[in-house]
């Protein structure tokens, strides 16, 4: 599944970063680099901590020792496996 579809308290491991052109606001390679820079690399543990008050978007994700806010649209590029 994608992190963009996950609900609150979701815990998982990043399986792959796969940027879908249709979802992306920038060249896929650039999007991928930005996600990696935020700590979303294969094998990273992620936990969805908070959802925005309107339409449950954006989301706040604990990853790699930091809390990162991003929109669900971008989080669709992060493929995860649930670990609980």
């Amino acid at each position: 599944m994608c992190l963009g579809q996950a609900g609150r308290d979701f815990q998982g491991v990043v399986r792959a970063i796969a940027v879908d052109d249709a979802f992306c606001a920038m060249p896929p390679a650039e999007m991928e680099r930005r996600l990696i820079e935020l700590g979303f690399v294969e094998g990273a543990h992620v936990r969805l901590l908070h959802e925005g008050p309107f339409g449950r978007d954006p989301i706040a994700v604990r990853v790699n020792g930091a809390t990162v806010a991003l929109r669900r649209r971008e989080a669709m590029a992060i493929h995860v496996i649930e670990t609980r």
Binding site: I17, C24, A25, M26, A29, M31, E32, R33, R34, L35, I36, E37, L38, G39, V41, E42, L49, H50, E51, G52, P53, F54, G55, D57, P58, A60, N64, G65, A66, T67, V68, A69, L70, R71, R73, E74
Partner: protein
Amino acid sequence: MTDIQSAGDGAGTAPVPRLALVGAPNCGKTALFNALTGSRQKVGNYAGVTVERKVGSAITPAGRRVDIVDLPGTYSLRARSPDEEVTRDVVLGRHRAEPAPDLLLVVADSVSPQSGLRLAMELRKVGRPMILVMNMIDIARHRGIGIDIAGMARLIGVPVVAATAVRRGGQDELWRALDAALAEGLAAPGLNRWAEPDGAELRRIHREVSGLIAATVTEPARPDTRTARIDAVLLHPVWGLAVLLGLMFAMFQAVFTGAAPVMDLIGSAFDGLGALAGQALPRGLLLSFIQDAVIAGVGGVVVFLPQILILFLFILLLEDLGYMARAAFLMDRIMGGAGLHGRAFIPLLSSFACAIPGIMSARVIDSRRDRLTTILVAPLMTCSARIPVYTLIISAFIPARRVAGVFDLRGLVMFGLYAAGIAAALGVSFVAKRLFWRDRPAPPFMLELPDYKMPRLRDVAIGLMARAKMFLKRAGTTIFAMTVLIWVLATLPRPPDGATEPAIAYSFAAIIGHWIEPLMAPIGFNWQICMALVPGMAAREVAVSALGTVYAIQGDEGALGHSLSTHWSLATALSFLAWYVFAPQCVSTLAVIRREAGGARWMWLTFGYMFALAYAASFVVYNVAVALGWG
């Protein structure tokens, strides 16, 4: 170290070594810069871009003078915003105005060192001498995080020191390392092996940093949960919004009521100064220039300083606390629907006090297109200079009666004017998104939510001083020049001898008023209104006194209101209100837009669209009102 005079022996003839502070956002870099340089800093702009340039100097314990430049925070040298481009160009020695640094001070947050260490790995390739500073070591130790500084230095291959920006003596190790490096003599820059990393390279750096952290950082047995516990409330869908609304309300209260006594004080001080000039100089053109252009003009801008300081006090406190990123998180969806970034929330909120600090604070938005959209719509927010105009017209034309038993009709109209401004701002940004950025999809909203930190008074004070200086400098130059121009328009030529009308009726402003009257007639403006709009360009509320002058009303606003209600129809009054919601009636704002957006193009665009909106709104309001029999 504290006295610049003691530089003597170290300064010599050799060029002063130049250090550059580089670090990820929220790593305490600016606090470290403040600690190293104290108040010996100069804040300005890099030429051509609105990126803040901070340079300071310091004397090391051994008496060597160094210059330190605080580069904009960045996660990587892959520059993605004007700020980050400056950092990249300076670090690589490519910047046109800023000399290449002799030594890089790479700052990493000891509490969450990943991003800082990743940046250090990248910077290692640039080939310049560097020292890695593990900052905020006190917080890390307090939380039970252990860092093997010596081991880290061995693994990275550059000197590493621990530091605390916020404690006295917290920089001793850094000073010692600096003196050691300077005594040894800084190596000439080596070969630059940096190239823009691709995904694979970033993954490799990430692995390398993870390995480094595993080898040198020990996590505490019981992790710190303070930030998580605070976030449970502040990012809560209900409580989080309630706190945000409460904060907004407190900010408004502070800006409007808290600033009022000081503003009155400044206002009467400038009035007194004007009166003093009136006693010292003979009546005439010179006195008018001193009183109406210099004193009243500068005073009219300086009077906003308390509001701007209170506003920036809030902004700086919330930013240092780590709350700003949370506010952006909470508001992103609403703002995003209109094509704005979550971070635009605070600049737009600030614009309710005055568009100038609002536009200035749009710098917190990384993406250029989001920043420009924010700057474009900020003047639509109802600034405090519109309030005198609104209250004058409302009290003169709108009867004080109750609507539906509970609402005051005047209050409702006032609320409507505010709501119209907000709706227009959202609408315009929505259209801008479709019109200007059609081909470029919205930049993503991705940001780190930093751990909460107690703001330090000293850093807030230094930040506040810099804003005040910047504002006053602008008031003293661009805004002053505009005020003088408007004074000329409203004063010259002088009335002929034996003139019966008020002096302004013979001025260029009156000529312009008569000249644009045919254009404004369809929206119900007579030539007196058209004329008052000219000095009203200096600041919106000046239109009130200009109307007083042209209708030859001496005394309070009540008298002016009464006079207006006999001269104007209700339709004209409503049209005038609609005009003031949208019209680009403030040269200071336009001047700041030109500066912050980096071009006259954006200034004219703002002027044009606001004028069009104002004209259309007034036209509709006037004609509907006339049709309703209020003409």
